[in-house]
Symmetry: C2
Subunit: 225 residues, 2 copies
DNA sequence: TTTAAACTATGATATTTGTCATGTTTTGAT
DNA sequence: ATCAAAACATGACAAATATCATAGTTTAAA
């Protein structure tokens, strides 16, 4: 089993604030897990009882709305932690996590994290800073959801994907979303998302082949209104 | 000048996690301030350099969207802290704070709060928990903004106001919002907010007299769709 | 490789929401 | 108490978005 203190991934999240001793202790308790594309990591309402550290792959965090539709609240990528919020609040998860491609994650039990949160002010402050960052992002999304058109929000999502994910040899985004996922990211009907993506394709802003998407004109997407 | 360790307000926020000594130290640095209705506490982009603790009154936190409209992200009430997020991230404010009625606030300089954040794990953890709660609320708002109709969102706002604010002798809400504020809370045009409020009034869900609003049928509001 | 299921595409139409115009009411300063 | 400015109200219309129907395409499992 690989050791946390030697893991590159820790650089990207609050675990970097821990000392070697703490990381070795956590290594002893953590479990590693492979998650297949489409598999559910956990569901809304379940107790997670720990945090996941994403070593590889992407997953979507979504929430079921009153009208029965899923809203994707966040995409989680390599290096991110999942489940901190529920852990800190000592609540069941308010979100469902589903893998968008094959993932490798480490699970760190709640007690270990709480131990460091209560004893290590540096770790605690770092996690506070990460959560503050997430809150700012969430506030920005609220404003966008409330004020931007569906077309703008979809353009924003495409820009975000282009800036966040790797591309394959042909320039296609290395993350595969269904049209329904796009719809659930921007909060619209699947048909509307399909229509707008087709429109973007016709205007040369993107190119698509099945679910594979390539961003052709990033600046053009920024000008969408 | 009143002392923090004797202030009832501290029960409602993270300051409760501090010991008497720390509270007395903070008392010595804090400043008290009265803010008139409509007055700007701080603007988006300004450095706050501390946190405000709301002793009395209500204020709105809003963000200017790309299209020039304000989106109200949160209402802040007696007992709440303002500015923690920016303080923790060491960033300028991403929100504008405007008083909705006459307020009394205490301002605690950044250094004092940071001192406790870095030295007092209990305080730091408590603030982490508060921020986790805010993040959950923000995620819920994202889902509502994305999935609910304007009418439902406006009904939600009215339910929230009824459950959060005091009523006067005649049952009117003790917080006065303009129709534009209602529009900026739900993310719609002012005319749309006006129309829907009129409609709610006609159906007996609410009663209005100028800006004064009384909730007549809370359960009816919950059934709006 | 085949084949059914899932996903994508698109037209027609209904509904929601925004915008503009105009008139009325309320509010706050004098 | 008066009056102008701000806020509220409402109609008419335009634009955005959702819904329903139907057909074509892709995907993944047998």
């Amino acid at each position: 089993m690989s050791k946390c203190d030697q893991c590159i991934i820790k650089q990207f999240n609050s675990l970097k604030a821990l000392g070697k001793e703490d990381l070795i202790r956590i290594s002893g308790c953590k479990t590693s897990r492979f998650v297949n594309k489409g598999e559910v990591l956990f569901r809304e309402g379940e107790s997670i009882n720990g945090v996941y550290c994403v070593k590889d792959g992407v997953c979507k965090l979504s929430k079921l709305s009153a009208n029965g539709k899923d809203q994707i609240v966040k995409l989680v990528v390599r290096g991110d932690l999942i489940g901190q919020r529920s852990l800190v609040s000592d609540e069941k998860s308010n979100l469902t996590a589903i893998a968008l491609n094959d993932m490798e994650v480490c699970f760190i039990p709640k007690n270990e994290v709480m131990h460091d949160l209560t004893n290590n002010a540096k770790f605690s402050l770092d996690m506070l800073q990460e959560m503050a960052k997430e809150l700012k992002t969430a506030d920005n999304i609220i404003v966008d959801m409330a004020q931007k058109s569906v077309k703008q929000r979809l353009a924003d999502v495409l820009i975000y994907l282009q800036e966040t994910f790797d591309k394959d040899d042909n320039g296609f985004l290395n993350v595969i979303l269904s049209r329904e996922d796009y719809a659930n990211l921007v909060g619209t009907a699947t048909e509307s998302a399909i229509r707008i993506l087709s429109q973007f394709k016709k205007s040369g802003l993107i190119f698509t082949k099945g679910k594979h998407v390539k961003i052709e004109d990033l600046e053009g997407l920024r000008r969408v209104e």
